[in-house]
């Protein structure tokens, strides 16, 4: 088989994306393109191929490499795209610019495929940063608020992409090559710096703290399938893919290094802080978006442990998260489509009206909460085991995160699907089949990956880690961990039941946390955006700018004021000599000529 085939997963969606921008039957084109790419991805799965062609020179080569890991991400990304496109066929029917949405979606897929297949860091960066354009475009479709959020997203992601750029340059310089498969850098101080820069790029793409704040905003203003498509699935796949690549292949990262600790701290903090924010949200989509951030914490924590079981758990969690989170967003979308709102206050009693959506929601919510025997349970257990190996504090953070996750999903499910029917939910019908099919498919995969969790683990995750690492791993089937998990889940359920009863309804089950002493002040600040790192960073930049501007004006005033005055002062003496007397001028002119002649004579003598 010709190696040029590697170009197809990039070119097909790209060309289709450009066509959908111009031509009418956009759903058909988008469906056909993603379906064909999926077939191709299945066909390419687990093949080894490379393709290279001269590109920008100076060590920048157009080098694609298909191998186990990249083919797996390729398959997952394309699969999600197909399902989201199918979902959009009904969801986007009444939206304003469906052609732009499909076009951006397809081009995004092309760039993601390109970034995953690239074996040259610069080429990867090219595709990776290129995603900014479509990201901006897709969020901007959400109207006026959308543009604001799109700007925020562009600034945050753009800045972290620039960090990635410097990291890539530094890594390429240290390794003497930009080819990823040839890199293996020992952790010198400079290499650590490169790693940190690249890590910033990777975790920010995945949506980890502190680069997360555009996601909840986008949940409100961007079209919903966007959330299921990028922040829930494709960006996670891409970000965690790079994080795994740099931790496993590109750098010789060891468990003892400070970087590993940093990653675990970032992971733990992300889990806890984001889930605390999720718990108090009163909007279906916004609540989910905070979970999309919180769950990244598990992946970063897992990979940050630098022990095989943790890394494996992190990667398994990545694919699981992409599954259940996109499913959850899609249920949110069908609720929004059918009722016209996602405010939990206006929802209630949907379980009877939308049974299929409800069933999918239950499966996905159980999966994200880590209820056995669903897929989320197994990946979380692996992350727990890895975290425990590195220190109990990380383990406690992760388990605590699970408690709040379960609590917030109990609240969400209770408020939206049970309770009294409201105005909005009175005359609701089940969503149409193009929206149901993707949800059902994803929910079934969640169940499948849970019941037969050895299948994805053996098929996808183990080959990524490599036999070498697995051989070093002692089997740590710790049954205590499972018991703790079950207890925590039971506690979450108990907490919810008690709180819902005392506070009056599922929606208010977390109100006591929102209004707890100390916490309530923090939440107040958070609601006003004062704790948003984006706002803080902008304030700092504004401060620098003001200083710089002052300095600039000072320099300018030197020209406008001082130099002019200086010139006047200096020329005052000379101007006195200008009396307007012609004979005086003639004398001066003759004197000048005499001096020139004298000078010429002197230089002649010397010459």
């Amino acid at each position: 088989m010709n190696d040029h085939v590697l170009l197809l997963p990039i070119l097909i969606p790209l060309v289709a994306g450009v066509i959908t921008l111009l031509l009418r039957p956009r759903e058909a084109i988008a469906l056909a393109a993603t379906a064909f790419t999926l077939v191709l991805a299945v066909f390419l799965y687990n093949h080894d191929k490379t393709f290279s062609v001269a590109w920008a020179g100076f060590g920048m080569e157009f080098l694609l490499r298909l191998y186990h890991f990249s083919s797996f991400i390729l398959l997952a990304a394309t699969g999600f795209s197909l399902l989201v496109v199918l979902y959009c066929c009904s969801f986007m029917r009444d939206s304003k610019h469906p052609n732009q949405f499909y076009s951006y979606l397809l081009i995004t897929l092309a760039f993601v495929n390109g970034a995953v297949l690239a074996d040259n860091l610069v080429l990867m960066l090219f595709f990776w940063e290129g995603l900014l354009v479509t990201l901006f475009g897709m969020i901007a479709l959400g109207g006026r608020e959308g543009f604001k959020t799109a700007t925020k997203a562009l600034i945050i992601v753009g800045i972290s992409d620039l960090c990635l750029m410097v990291g890539i340059g530094l890594a390429g310089h240290l390794a003497g090559t930009a080819t990823m498969s040839k890199m293996s850098l020992p952790m010198t101080p400079l290499a650590s710096l490169a790693f940190v820069f690249m890590m910033i790029g990777a975790i920010s793409k995945a949506g980890s703290m502190p680069f997360h704040t555009w996601i909840p905003d986008a949940a409100v203003s961007a079209p919903l399938p966007f959330m299921a498509f990028l922040p829930a699935s494709l960006e996670k796949l891409l970000g965690i893919y790079l994080l795994a690549r740099i931790s496993l292949d590109l750098f010789q990262l060891s468990a003892g290094s400070w970087i590993s600790v940093t990653m675990m701290i970032i992971g733990s903090l992300t889990i806890l802080l984001a889930v605390m924010m999720a718990l108090v949200q009163k909007d279906y989509k916004k609540l989910l978006s905070y979970h999309a951030i919180s769950q990244v914490g598990y992946m970063v924590l897992g990979i940050g442990t630098c022990v095989p079981i943790g890394i494996g758990g992190g990667l398994f969690h990545m694919i699981n998260h992409a599954l259940y989170k996109s499913c959850l967003f899609l249920t949110g979308g069908s609720v929004e489509k059918q009722t016209g709102t996602t405010r939990l206050e206006d929802l209630g009693g949907l379980a009877r009206k939308m049974p299929v959506t409800f069933a999918c929601f239950v499966i996905a919510a159980c999966a994200i909460s880590g209820v056995p025997p669903l897929n989320g349970f197994f990946s979380k257990e692996l992350v727990y085991a890895g975290a425990l190996e590195r220190g109990s504090i990380y383990y406690i953070a992760a388990v605590l995160g699970s408690f709040f996750t379960a609590a917030s999903f109990l609240k969400l499910g209770h408020a939206a699907y049970f309770g009294k029917q409201t105005e909005a939910s009175k005359n609701v019908k089940e969503a149409p089949w193009p929206m149901l099919v993707p949800m059902i498919v994803i929910a079934s995969i969640c169940v499948l990956f849970g019941l037969y969790h050895q299948l994805p683990l053996n098929e996808f995750i183990r080959p990524i880690l490599g036999e070498q690492r697995l051989a070093a791993q002692e089997s740590s089937g710790n049954e205590m961990l499972i018991i703790v998990t079950v207890i925590v889940l039971a506690l979450a359920l108990l907490h919810h039941l008690v709180a819902a009863k005392t506070m009056g309804g599922g929606l208010h089950a977390s109100d006591h946390i929102r209004h707890a002493p100390v916490l309530t002040k923090i939440y107040d600040h958070a609601d006003k955006g004062r704790l948003d790192p984006y706002n803080l960073a902008l304030a700092i930049i504004r401060g620098i700018s003001n200083l710089a501007y002052r300095f600039d004006r000072a320099v300018d005033s030197l020209y406008n004021g001082l130099s002019v005055r200086l010139a006047y002062t200096l020329s005052r003496g000379i101007s006195l000599a200008h009396t307007g007397n012609y004979s005086l001028y003639v004398v001066w002119a003759l004197l000048g000529v005499a001096m020139v002649l004298a000078f010429m004579r002197m230089s002649l003598w010397q010459g």
Binding site: A56, I155, S545
Partner: protein, 473 residues
């Protein structure tokens, strides 16, 4: 090759006369003169790409030489391309104003002098063309003749002229040291004897003042009073690039300079990048913001050239091209906004996305290119400059530039949001005339195409790098 310079220079003088009979003919003739140089440059470039030695032409005696090596051809091509688009834009823009004959004369003369400067391999010649560009740009900045405009034109002229005088002193030092003004002769007789630091300092003062770099930069935002196509021409595409080009021509392609300068220039550039980026974030005048942005992007070019690695230099050359295309586009968009909304104050603007969608999208795409987002061309320039700096061990300076790059994203998005989004303020502004909108759209499209087809310019620069002795390998 002589004709590349002479046709626009001499042709320019005929333009006002032609304008008396037909303005249309005059406009087309101006465009034709620029296009002639563009095509002639491409014709000459053919053999050079194939690896034949650089073409030369002598005037008057052996010491006044024009030489077309890879560096000069690249620069000439970029300048001519952007200038042609700006002239097309002027058809629409300048038709509202008086003194059009003078306008086209000055623009074409400026362009011809620029071509002469790019190809000249003699310092006296180079200085002469340098001053012609200064005089024509002085006339163009003060084109609208208001008192304040004339004062600012004077300022621009005096600052650059002061710099040029220092540079001339530097050239005399060069003559003193090597006994010739002819760069080809100097190059042969050089034998790795570095240029004296005093001469470097003097010449650098001229370069920094022309390329509006700290501390000689403030004339550039002030010169924003000029007609928009002129600001695009001067601030974005050609005038400010003269300085960086001469830097490359002298300190990379000809002389060997002390290692010390490979550290000093990046530091100066870093300070310049930060200061101007900060100012761009505070200013409220649309054209001043873009002008400050130019200063900060010029600093990136200086960084790439000054670190001296092939990656950095090639990146800087690419960035000259990509920045010229994109920034030219931004200034021309600003011109459309200014002309139709009757104000340049960004706080008075808003909601223009609805009424001028093509301008808005072009503005956005050009901004993406300057932010360095692929697949736009600016990505490659910025990437290669920063990485070139990292590879040469200038890690700290690069980190400062990283902050500069952050701020670039922030201030460009700020401008876009203020001007094109939000509530419309004041009367609804219409889209510009077809030639104007067409030229901004084509600049945006070129920014994109240049990124996608990066292979070609990059390949050309790779072969050019081999010709330059100042490249640190």
């Amino acid at each position: 090759m002589l004709s590349i310079v002479l046709v626009p220079v001499l042709g320019a003088l005929a333009l006002p006369t032609v304008g008396r009979t037909s303005t249309k003919l005059r406009n087309l003739l101006a465009l034709g003169l620029v296009l002639y140089s563009l095509i002639a440059t491409m014709v000459i470039a053919g053999p050079v790409i194939r690896g034949e030695p650089a073409a030369t032409a002598t005037i008057l005696s052996h010491s006044l030489i024009l030489q077309a090596d890879g560096l000069a051809l690249f620069m000439a091509f970029v300048s001519a391309l952007i200038c042609a688009i700006i002239v097309v834009y002027s058809f629409g823009y300048i038709s509202h104003y008086e003194n059009q004959g003078e306008y086209y004369l000055m623009v074409t003369l400026f362009f011809g002098a620029m071509m002469g400067l790019v190809f000249s391999a003699n310092l006296v010649f180079l200085y002469t063309f340098w001053e012609i560009t200064a005089i024509t740009s002085w006339r163009l900045i003060g084109f609208f003749r208001q008192r304040q405009h004339v004062v600012r034109a004077d300022k621009a002229f005096l600052v650059t002229f002061f710099g040029a005088l220092l540079m001339l002193l530097g050239f005399i030092q060069v003559y003193h040291q090597y006994g010739s003004f002819d760069l080809t002769v100097i190059k042969q007789g050089l034998q790795n004897q570095p240029l004296s630091n005093l001469a470097v300092l003097l010449i650098l003062a001229g370069i920094l003042s022309k390329s509006a770099t700290l501390p000689f930069h403030t004339w550039l935002p002030d010169a924003g009073v000029a007609p928009s196509p002129v600001t695009a021409l001067l601030h974005a595409a050609l005038l400010v690039k003269i300085g960086v080009y001469v830097f490359a021509r002298l300190f990379i392609a000809t002389f060997v300079v002390d290692d010390f300068w490979h550290t000093v220039v990046p530091v100066v550039a870093a300070a310049s990048a930060l200061t101007s980026a900060g100012a761009a974030l505070v200013e409220t005048d649309l054209k001043r913001i873009i002008a400050y942005s130019t200063i900060s992007q010029i600093a990136f070019i200086f960084l790439g050239l000054a670190v001296g690695s092939p990656m950095g230099i090639a990146g800087a050359m690419l960035y000259i091209m990509m920045h010229g295309l994109a920034k030219g586009g931004l200034f021309l968009c600003a011109g459309i906004v200014e002309q139709n909304a009757k104000t340049k104050d960004v706080t008075q603007l808003g909601g223009l996305l609805k009424t001028m969608p093509i301008t808005a999208v072009s503005f956005l795409l050009c901004s993406f290119s300057i932010m360095g987002i692929p697949p736009f061309g600016g990505f490659f320039g910025k990437y290669m400059v920063m990485i070139g700096a990292v590879q040469s061990g200038h890690l700290w300076v690069t980190l400062v530039f990283l902050v500069g790059a952050f701020m670039t994203i922030v201030y460009l998005m700020r401008v876009f949001n203020l001007v094109f989004l939000g509530e419309a303020k004041g009367a609804a502004a219409r889209e510009g005339s077809p030639t104007m909108v067409g030229s901004v759209a084509s600049l945006a499209a070129l920014s994109l195409v240049a990124g996608i087809l990066i292979y070609y310019p990059s390949q050309f620069l790779q072969s050019t790098m081999l010709q330059l002795p100042g490249v640190i390998k």
